[in-house]
Symmetry: C2
Subunit: 233 residues, 2 copies
Amino acid sequence: MSTEKSVPIDESHARWMNIDNGDGKPYGDGRTEKSNKPSSLEPENTSLLDGNIYDPTMLANIPWSQESQAKFKPGISPTSPGVGLVLRPLRIEDDQKGFLTLLAMLTSVGHVSAEDFRNQFEVMAMCPNSYYVTVIEDVEQGRVVGCATLIVEYKFIHSAGTRGRIEDVVVSDAYRGRQLGKLLLETLTLMGRHNVGCYKMSLECKDSLIKFYEQFGYEKDPGNNYLQQRFKV
Amino acid sequence: MSTEKSVPIDESHARWMNIDNGDGKPYGDGRTEKSNKPSSLEPENTSLLDGNIYDPTMLANIPWSQESQAKFKPGISPTSPGVGLVLRPLRIEDDQKGFLTLLAMLTSVGHVSAEDFRNQFEVMAMCPNSYYVTVIEDVEQGRVVGCATLIVEYKFIHSAGTRGRIEDVVVSDAYRGRQLGKLLLETLTLMGRHNVGCYKMSLECKDSLIKFYEQFGYEKDPGNNYLQQRFKV
């Protein structure tokens, strides 16, 4: 889809959102490298992001065969998730493909208008390399049937590193038994570790799901506690 | 630096980072409101952000006297944190005021050059209303002596809501006993709840700190587990 040379993905996001570099001119050839992000984050073309919440080529660059820890039978992968299915970044029209209905199987979604969805999508997309909202679509049905998100948080600690979190994992009941939750988790865990370069990844889960998440390397951290509070909004 | 009327803070961040709205023109008067954020997030003037990681006027707008849950003796507040001290957003020159040295009291910071610090600061600032990195400065010493961060995560669930997390809380040993950790926690918890409008806030902490965090309303969530894994980077 592209013949342009690589630019740091930070700036490809920036271009998509029409950010410039402060002098009124877009970054061009011969520019000084500003980012300290690993070169593996450099996509081929900024136009690839168009309508996607992150660069879809990242999914092809996950070191799946070398690093995948979970066992898949039959062997599926981010680029071959199963017959009739595609694994891809969330797209800005996915509220029309049942994405919110799917999330409602997980927790309360409430009223999210088309405009709300688009606004939230755009805010997420403005955050450079932060919201890896990933979906599985049944392409024949035109329906989103599974999703999970890798959120990346920028830090000053750990050499100004990044920390990843897995959030909002759900697979449609009708698609259970096809290893799709496993596929989403392994994909986002490898992406966080190898493509983004997170020094730590974490998630919160119910007691009954600890075993499921352990197969991807997650474990309880003895002496560390998760505390929370909820508010009416 | 500006005399323009108020705009949503999303866009004030955007302007500071030289984002435009895609048609090459900055947002002007008479524009259609795009954001669904509460109007309390609208600062008076985009120049207030200049050099700050978030709008410092937010700290004056926290409903402190009405909502503060923790007990302070003597009574301090975000705007009166104690003699010789100022509580404020992280500023882009704070690496020169010992911010990284302070973080090293908490965990490994490693080598973070002035350029690394600035790059990371700028990436955080590009994320609209997301990184509320807050510090306490001893103004006579010109040193950052305490810090904590409220991270806001955008969601599609909960009416396209926001979730807050408290991260990287540390107060310099020499300033213990001045209620500064308490002040930072109460400030960021109220900010997350009332000013940002988070439906949930959470944090991870060691066993010995559970009691400390409970005074701000945080508690264990029975049946919910925190899992993690760490990587060498």
